[in-house]
Symmetry: C2
Subunit: 231 residues, 2 copies
Amino acid sequence: MAASAIPEFTGDHGTTTQEYAYSRLRNAIIVGAFAPGTALTIRGLAQELNLSPTPIREAVRRLSSENAIQVLGNRRLRVPDMSLGRFEELVHLRISLETHAAERAFPYISTVIIEKMRALDDQMDVALAAGDLDALTRINQAFHKDLYGLNPHQAVMPMIESLWLQLGPFQRQVIKTIKVSAMIDRHKEMLAAMEARDVTALCSALESDIRDGSIRLGRAILRNQAGETVT
Amino acid sequence: MAASAIPEFTGDHGTTTQEYAYSRLRNAIIVGAFAPGTALTIRGLAQELNLSPTPIREAVRRLSSENAIQVLGNRRLRVPDMSLGRFEELVHLRISLETHAAERAFPYISTVIIEKMRALDDQMDVALAAGDLDALTRINQAFHKDLYGLNPHQAVMPMIESLWLQLGPFQRQVIKTIKVSAMIDRHKEMLAAMEARDVTALCSALESDIRDGSIRLGRAILRNQAGETVT
DNA sequence: TTTATTCCTTTGTGATCTCTTTTAGGCTTG
DNA sequence: CAAGCCTAAAAGAGATCACAAAGGAATAAA
């Protein structure tokens, strides 16, 4: 229970304990290790990670400012619930923000970056075949991140990551529900548009990638719920 | 020095000490009380606010996750510097995000909210006449916030506020530099578009409001700098 | 006069301890 | 039988303390 709740992963955990706690919790949320609505306690998380409550509190505060964790009025913590309205809002925001990011990254696209992204896309096929959903999520995000990060002055990446954090807990429900074979992405289309240096086609493929990847499925699942809330 | 550095203000300071520290620091940054590049210390801020370092640390961590405060590798804190590239990126982002927010708030516009916003616009004239720049900033933000918050499922407001935080320290430099009489906003245009229920006109006026309010002035000032960096 | 080194001060970090609040469970009472 | 209350356990908040790392200043050497 303890070890399985917060998945381990290899990556940059930073230098301080607080950064370590932050990266562990952040990863857990973004890959969907916590279901929407899960209640969390600082002391409980501290015990799971074998840390004192102090760095956990700081990590939780950061995540609350990124809207990945809700701090309720009664001082209790929870992973936010998902509703149809909020879900659609988040997906629309993803499209707006990521399209914006792609447009502003566009002038910096090079053959080097296209090859790098193609390699990531290949890695996704491997992870898909292995059924490693955590890795699939992380590689998919790396693919998008590499593109948006091309713009050296970009300030949008932290906001996009906040959206990924907010969608993470629910996204996993979606991924678990559908057949893996049904998972299509538009990465090949995006790469082709990048090679053709066609910004319109790139944004169009990106929008489809986001929309296909979530909105249909999300709607289907949420519509089946009794109320507006999913747990 | 101590009392003058972090301005006091009336508003919701929350229930916990950490929330109080957060709202004081947040307000200080958003109204531009700290110049870009200012170095901060946790213990120093704690002394200024008569608190222990713990809640300050938590508030600072939250602000760092909103990109309002930079945590340097050597454990030092600073208000981020502004460069021409970053400034233009932030303004473009403001336009994208706030246009998005206005579009999605549009169906919820009512005469009640138009009147509320008109009242805020009137308050701005008062603050302008009184030369109260802090109030001017806060009322202007309340004006925009009232509009964007109409959409009950909106998730974009925290991101817009992150942008305001990032522009705050520099914005004050801009406001101090230009004559107060030159400060024009497009709020009347926005209100007219809202009354006419014209979403295109609203977004157009909003974009002008953001652009006129910052980009020309920002460019002029930053272009005059020797390098790319302003302090 | 300039540069490198050393020591002292300052600061961030994280664990612990105490205090207060909240919750949950069982009991009493209507 | 249900609703409200009381008590005990658990949790969050914040101060404090101890430790380690980073800066700055003073001194010595070139």
